[in-house]
């Protein structure tokens, strides 16, 4: 109980609450502008959180991420353009409902069920992670090696599109992770005599480049597309209209939240994949599947809950194992390391008050979503008028300053530029970004755990299967690779 009291004291600090409010508004703004994603909100926030204590820093990121995933639904409903990829699954339904004068029902549903999904995911996080951490305490380098392999494998096969192209992304990330002398042998690799590169590829400037600068380049190239005037939403009775939906779709809300949490917890899969899968599941089990895509609220309830549940679920592997569940938590893990708060099971032992504080922050962020979301919907038509041609240059300046503030030198800006161009080229070639990020974050972990294990086992490969949990996770990782291969062979045979 004492720990809980300490945690409450950490969060109840007016500074933390103010940070949450400000980053919530920031998240709503970024999320509701098409083209700016939740990951971008996080990447742009990181340089600022860099100067905060761990709790306000994480609070800022958690709040901004949750808000921007919800806010992505607003332009979907008003403009038929999803604000973030996570809203793309049900944009057609949301827009048609608004057009038919049912904006209250549509926006109310995404807001209320986003909050429900987020809170559900948080409750699972609170219940599951201490138990998982207990198990994780027994992990040695063998288990961690396999966990990393499993995470990287999931990232490849879960990402939408071609798994081969996802692997290209992973290879890029892994290569970037080998640069510098931060490896078990402490040898300088691929530095070409450059002193800055000795420290390796600084993670946050790379992220800012991949997610934010690349987006600015895309906007420069595509220019302003024919702008449509946003529809005017109706906010009267936004919340009361949802009581009926809660009565009508309790199973959908629960299923969306549960599936979303699970998908979020899978390494490499985040809110966007969760929303797509939940929308499909909802349609599959619906009594009226023919109404999906024509302005039906059922899919909104389920997928809306799912994408926010995924945001919370992604934190389970991040906090327990230090393995990110999606690109947002990948950024946060980088931040946690910098703050000396090494994610992993020991954090539950050494600093339980921090973990409890994070749990409270999660619940608070999802509750804060209700009033702030209401405000955002009210102001939406005005925010959506902010011209992108003015906004994009400003974002680029924030990218530059953000990258600079991490290294305090032009090196950060150079990295940001290089990765920005890389991210632009990758997106042009349908190569997903998330596996590269995971490769960059997990590459050093993979290398360290492999080499430590090999030294311990004196080069005996079988040692990777000698401990029961290691063997189990290892088998699972191999299965992730085998299943698609077997399916491919079977399909070839059938053809």
């Amino acid at each position: 109980m004492n720990v809980l009291g300490q945690a409450l004291a950490l969060v109840a600090d007016p500074y933390v609450l103010l940070v949450m409010l400000a980053s919530g508004i920031f998240g709503l703004f970024v999320g509701s502008i098409p083209g700016l994603t939740a990951t971008m909100a996080t990447a742009l926030l990181v340089p600022i959180t860099f100067f905060m204590d761990p709790v306000p820093a994480i609070a800022a990121i958690v709040t901004a991420a949750a808000m921007s995933i919800f806010a992505g639904d607003i332009p979907g409903a008003l403009l038929r353009i999803p604000g973030t990829p996570a809203s793309a699954a049900y944009v057609e339904d949301a827009y048609r409902m608004t057009r038919d004068g049912r904006s209250r029902d549509a926006l109310g549903a995404v807001l209320v069920f986003s909050a429900i999904g987020g809170i559900f995911g948080t409750l699972i996080l609170i219940l599951a992670s201490p138990a998982l951490a207990e198990i994780a305490l027994k992990f040695s380098s063998f288990e961690y090696f396999w966990l990393v392999v499993l995470g990287l494998s999931c990232a490849i096969f879960v990402s939408p599109g071609s798994p081969l192209r996802a692997m290209v992304s992973l290879v890029i990330g892994l290569f970037a992770a080998t640069i510098g002398m931060d490896n078990p042998a402490a040898q300088a690799r691929f530095t070409f005599g450059n002193l800055d590169l000795l420290a390796g590829v600084s993670f946050i400037p790379a992220m800012i480049g991949l997610f934010a600068a690349a987006e600015v380049f895309r906007a420069m190239v595509h220019g302003r597309k024919g702008a449509t005037a946003p529809l005017q939403p109706d906010t009267k009775g936004l919340f009361s209209s949802q009581i009926a939906n809660m009565r009508r779709y309790p199973v959908q809300a629960l299923r969306g939240s549960g599936l979303g949490t699970l998908i979020g917890a899978l390494p490499g899969a985040g809110a966007d994949i969760a929303a797509w899968i939940s929308y499909a599941v909802s349609k599959r089990f619906s009594r009226t599947p023919e109404r999906f895509g024509h302005g039906h609220v059922e899919g909104l309830v389920e997928a809306g809950a799912s994408n926010n549940a995924a945001v919370s679920g992604a934190w389970i592997p991040a906090l327990v194992f230090g393995i990110p569940g999606d690109s947002i938590t990948a950024i946060v893990i980088g931040v946690l390391y910098v703050k000396g708060m090494n994610p992993g099971p020991t954090i539950f032992l050494h600093e339980p008050q921090l973990i409890y504080a994070l749990f409270i922050v999660f619940l608070l962020a999802n509750l804060l979503m209700l009033p702030l979301g209401w405000l955002a919907i009210r102001l939406a038509s005005r925010v959506l008028k902010v011209p992108q041609k003015v906004l994009m240059p400003i974002i680029l300046l924030f990218c530059i300053v953000g990258a600079f503030s991490i290294t305090n030198s032009a090196y950060g800006v150079v990295l940001m530029l290089v990765f920005g161009v890389l991210g632009f080229l990758m997106e042009e070639n349908d190569i997903p970004i998330a596996p590269a990020i995971l490769g960059l974050v997990l590459g050093p972990m993979l290398e360290k755990n492999f080499i430590t294990s090999m030294i311990k086992a004196d080069g005996n490969w079988l040692a990777f299967f000698e401990r029961p949990i290691a063997a189990g996770i290892g088998a699972l990782a191999i299965l992730v690779w085998l299943v698609p291969l077997v399916r491919l062979i079977l399909r070839r045979r059938a053809a």
Binding site: F51, V171, F217, P393
Partner: protein, 154 residues
């Protein structure tokens, strides 16, 4: 511009070979089989396999390179390359000109590129630079380059 599987595969294959070859130059931890060479070599092998798989999967389509819609528009190329050039210019000039002046120039130039009116661009740029200089330079104590010409008075 989108590379087909074959052309992407060739690039990945070359990259993988180069990585593996570079990996040969690193040495293991003394007394061990594994060390600094392990990871580059492993990623190299993975890339070589991946490159071959891509080449195989794209063999029907040949060396297809699809040109996206925007790439047919020279204006889009100009905007993209100018944006990159402007960031390079920022990196080169910020040290001598200082953050405020360079960032102002960068913002105005970028906004003119995207088709903002001059007056709007200048006003927004002044506002943004002041805000960033104050929030990052003052509140967060990021040592933004001051420059000799125009160091803002805070």
């Amino acid at each position: 511009m989108k590379l087909g599987d074959t052309s992407l595969g060739i690039l990945v294959l070359i990259g993988g070979l180069a990585l593996f070859w570079a990996g040969l130059g690193f040495s293991p931890i003394p007394g061990q089989v594994y060390g600094a060479q392990t990871m580059p070599k492993a990623v190299g092998v993975l890339s070589i396999g991946l490159g071959l798989a891509l080449i195989l999967s794209g063999r029907a389509a040949g060396l297809a390179v699809t040109i996206s819609d925007w790439a047919r528009d020279p204006g889009a190329w100009a905007r993209l390359l100018s944006a990159i050039a402007l960031i390079v210019a920022y990196i080169l000039l910020a040290g001598t000109l200082g953050f405020a002046l360079t960032a102002f120039g960068l913002l105005v130039a970028l906004m003119l590129l995207t088709g903002t009116r001059v007056l709007t661009a200048v006003i927004v740029a002044i506002g943004t630079v002041t805000l960033v200089q104050y929030s990052f330079g003052q509140l967060l104590r990021v040592p933004l380059p001051r420059g000799d010409l125009l160091a803002l008075p805070f």
